[in-house]
């Protein structure tokens, strides 16, 4: 900020000095030609990321306290906390949470395994790529939501359909990012492996797979987010248990406080799972950290 101001100061005082012919008045701070207009966003604000959400919560509290927000539209924060306590007391929140988490984890795991196998097969062999890549790209073009009617016909409305929907959604980012990473392994490393006369097995396990790991982990982050999104979709369309069902039921009875409890749980799940993947990333990719950081 100061830099910009200084730069302007220099420009304007020089101009005025030339026109009027007076000597420049002494400025409060020595201004030198080294000051350039800063183009970057500048230094980080402490706790910058927390400011936006905190402000929103503050607005919510104030709005509810002063009666600006109709509780039928949005329950007050304290009502939501009460609802939270009540749902835990009744055991409904825990039960629904366990049901949802089981679906999500099962779908994620299945999708993860299938997506990785497909990516490695397509990434390591031309035949595999010819057979797999096309269908996956086509699947990618179909929104998961649009597949649900078909999946209901095939699997009914039970757990099978829900887990399949989640797995099908998860496969895509895992496949895309892992496959891309496998294909963009530096050809110089391939040359190196050839001169070292590495076996095919060593080449895959020492060079190709570790090299593709950053791509896989990026895919995993997208997959985790997508897994929660698909969970919400399947639970609100056809379910008799789970967080989405709880929210859907609350809508029928106009309980905005319960809806908000469900949303808060979704937020926490999303943030915690993303944090876990990032932690994993830092552990596994420790080679990326250099002395500098």
């Amino acid at each position: 900020m100061a830099t910009i101001w200084d730069a302007d100061e220099v420009k304007s005082s020089r101009a005025s000095g030339r026109e009027s012919g007076y000597t420049l008045p002494a400025v409060a701070r020595p201004v030198t030609a080294r000051n350039r207009r800063r183009l970057g966003p500048g230094p980080a604000i402490p706790f910058g990321l927390q400011i936006g959400p905190a402000l929103l919560v503050l607005l919510w509290v104030a709005g509810s306290a002063f009666g600006w927000i109709d509780p039928r539209i949005l329950s007050a924060p304290w009502t939501v906390i009460e609802a939270f306590a009540r749902l835990i007391e009744q055991g409904r929140l825990q039960d629904n949470f366990v049901t949802s988490a089981t679906r999500a984890l099962l779908g994620l795991s299945i999708g993860l395994v299938i997506g990785t196998i497909l990516a490695v097969t397509a990434g390591l062999s031309r035949i595999g790529e010819a057979l797999i890549d096309g269908p996956v790209q086509i699947k990618r073009a179909i929104p998961t939501l649009a597949l649900i009617p078909l999946l209901i016909l095939w699997f009914g409305i039970g757990e099978g359909m829900k887990v399949t929907t989640i797995a099908l959604a998860v496969i895509i980012p895992i496949y895309i990012h892992t496959h891309n990473a496998l294909r963009s392994i530096d050809s110089r490393y391939v040359e190196l492996a050839e001169t070292l006369r590495m076996s095919q097995k060593d080449f895959i396990f020492q060079v190709v797979l570790p090299g593709a790991l950053p791509g896989f982990l990026l895919g995993l982050r997208f997959a985790v987010t997508l897994c929660w999104v698909s969970l919400v979709v399947v639970e609100q369309i056809n379910a008799t248990s789970g967080l989405g069902y709880m929210i859907e039921l609350a809508r029928n009875y106009g309980q905005t406080d319960v809806i908000l409890v469900g949303l808060v749980v979704y937020v926490l799940l999303g943030l915690v799972s993303d944090g876990l993947v990032r932690l994993l990333e830092r552990r596994v990719l420790s080679w990326r950290r250099t002395l500098a950081n």
């Binding site: 190196l192 001169t195 070292l196 060593d202 020492q206 570790p210 090299g211 250099t290 002395l291």
Partner: protein, 249 residues
Amino acid sequence: MAPHPSQLKSASRTVHVRNLMRRFAAKTILNRVDLDIAEGEFVALLGRSGSGKSTFLKALAGLDHDVEGTGTLEAPENLSVVFQDARLLPWRTVIQNVTLGLQGAAGQEAGRKALAEVGLEGREAAWPNQLSGGEQQRVALARSLVRQPSLLLADEPFGALDALTRLKMHDLLRELCARHRPAVLLVTHDVDEAISLADRILVLDDGHLIENLRIDLPTPRDHGDPRFAKIRTQLLSRLGVETPGRRAA
């Protein structure tokens, strides 16, 4: 004058190349190249960029999969390549990079010894990107040596290093070669580097070998030696650089 390649007995030669041709999309990169390298001989290959140096080295290393070509080429199976970039796998530690593809405890032990030889004892567990450029290139040297190659191919291995590090690397390479006695083909565009290291210097120009010069100066070689300067002038003129006022150092 160096003996004509054909005068070398086949038992003592490591590399045997006759009439080697390499073409890239209708352009002839190597044209009737003949070369023999004796066991333990240090040969430097000079040439301007685009003269075919790297193509020749790739041919010897067996890395030119999609290149058209004819000719006789005999090189030992047991060869190592040092590239211009250290080419270490960033996701493997230093010792893992040195022992890449080697099996068992014997490989580990040999890897540790090779690292000690290049002066990197104690850095086994470091990641490559924690090392300086010179250190990375030393790891690459260790990775080559641990395989006890009978032929070491080096493609401008010190080209990316600063001048001071480069001089230190010359000493190290000279010392390692004296101990392990591999035949060496060093591709470089640095004339002084070639003169200070090699037993014999070749100049490649437009796909032809146009110079084959044995260097009989005692080692370590003094850059200020008038004979050194004379050879330098001779080689530079072969490379198309005329040096009328060049300081005799």
